[in-house]
Amino acid sequence: MTSEGRAGPTANGEAPEDFDERSIDILVSLAKNGEIDPWDIDIVDVTDKFLAQVAELEKLDLRVSSRTLLFASILLRMKADALEEPEPQDLDDEELLDEDLHACFPALKPKVRRHAKRRVTLSELIHELKKATKRKEKSDVRRLIQLQAQEFDALAVAHTEDIERQVKRVQRELKRRFGKQDQVLFSELIVDNTAEHIIQTYIPLLFMATRRQIQLEQKELFGDILIQCKNL
């Protein structure tokens, strides 16, 4: 890591004069301590560590600049995108690996399942174009505003799409699980990582919690949510 020169005095562990530099400082020190690899950034990991550092600063009652919070929200958005859309693996080096493969592998015979894929529709193509356009054109600040707007939209969608139906769906699933286990984690209810599915599972939980059918507990910021049965 050759960033000391670039990062200036803030990278030397002194209190940064300019609080706007704090975000850079956090990232640089994460890299210096080997907590992130600048050559292979895992955005999910970086976001988590960045947010942890921000939380730490707040705990120490240090001033966190608005710019740092902006960076945090942008990272968070990138993390959400990364979770939503895993890029396909490329397998170019497979043959190379075969040569070195000292562990043999058995002739495992998987079950035979149908693997037809359907065609993409024109409206899906347009949908992706909208996403691509938005992504390019919005400045970071506008992206932040948009993020909030989207959250609001998502809530609105959840409301209009027959919330009771969603509540019933989640209720059923929880009943089934509580038959076998004492508590359920929110992550166990998530079958695909789309924002829509996550929200359509989360909102019903809030409804059920206000009806005192379940109790929700989140031990740490961004951590998993623990669901306990009260009166289902």
């Binding site: 035979v112 065609r119 193509l125 992706e128 691509a132």
Partner: protein, 162 residues
């Protein structure tokens, strides 16, 4: 194992139309594949959400029309979302240079273009230090555009974008 079941299993796993010839290669020597297919077509017609359809040479197992829309979202798409997004950008901006696409979509776009060319949905020609990209006739067929004209395709996409 009986021949009826072998035909059924083959149609199921193929996920595409099979020819009588392909089916014949799977069953016992004395089996009458045409007869088996006919009786399967009848059997599936009577009950359930699936159907077996025979057209000239090909036989395919698929979801009956009335259920197709209801389950479409469950089926996997044959283009991954990031690749589809790159394709959308090309279709809208075409003719467009590869470097412009990479600017909009990031460096991953080079891999996507590679895949899209392999799928023949996009074609390219050298253009200075980069390549000029455009969609193909196969693209127009795939998305049901009645025209191959780049201008008309762009116009239509523009209208749909609103």
């Amino acid at each position: 194992m009986n021949d009826r079941d072998l035909v059924e299993a083959a149609l199921f796993v193929a996920g595409r139309p099979l020819t009588l010839l392909e089916l014949e290669s799977m069953v016992s020597l004395d089996a009458d594949v045409e007869e088996i297919v006919e009786s399967l077509v009848e059997e599936y017609r009577e009950k359930g959400a699936l159907e077996i359809v025979q057209t000239d040479e090909d036989i395919v197992m698929q979801v009956k029309g009335e259920y197709a829309d209801a389950v479409r979202t469950i089926a996997q798409r044959d283009l991954e979302t990031p690749v589809l997004r790159t394709l959308a950008v090309i279709a809208f901006h075409q003719p467009v240079t590869q470097s412009k696409v990479a600017e909009i979509r990031g460096n991953k776009a080079y891999g996507h273009v590679h895949e899209l060319e392999a799928r023949k949905l996009v074609e390219s020609e050298p253009y200075g230090r980069t390549r000029m990209l455009r969609t193909t006739k196969a693209f127009a067929d795939y998305f049901g555009f009645e025209t191959e004209s780049l201008e008309e395709i762009k116009q239509k996409i523009g209208l749909l974008l609103r």
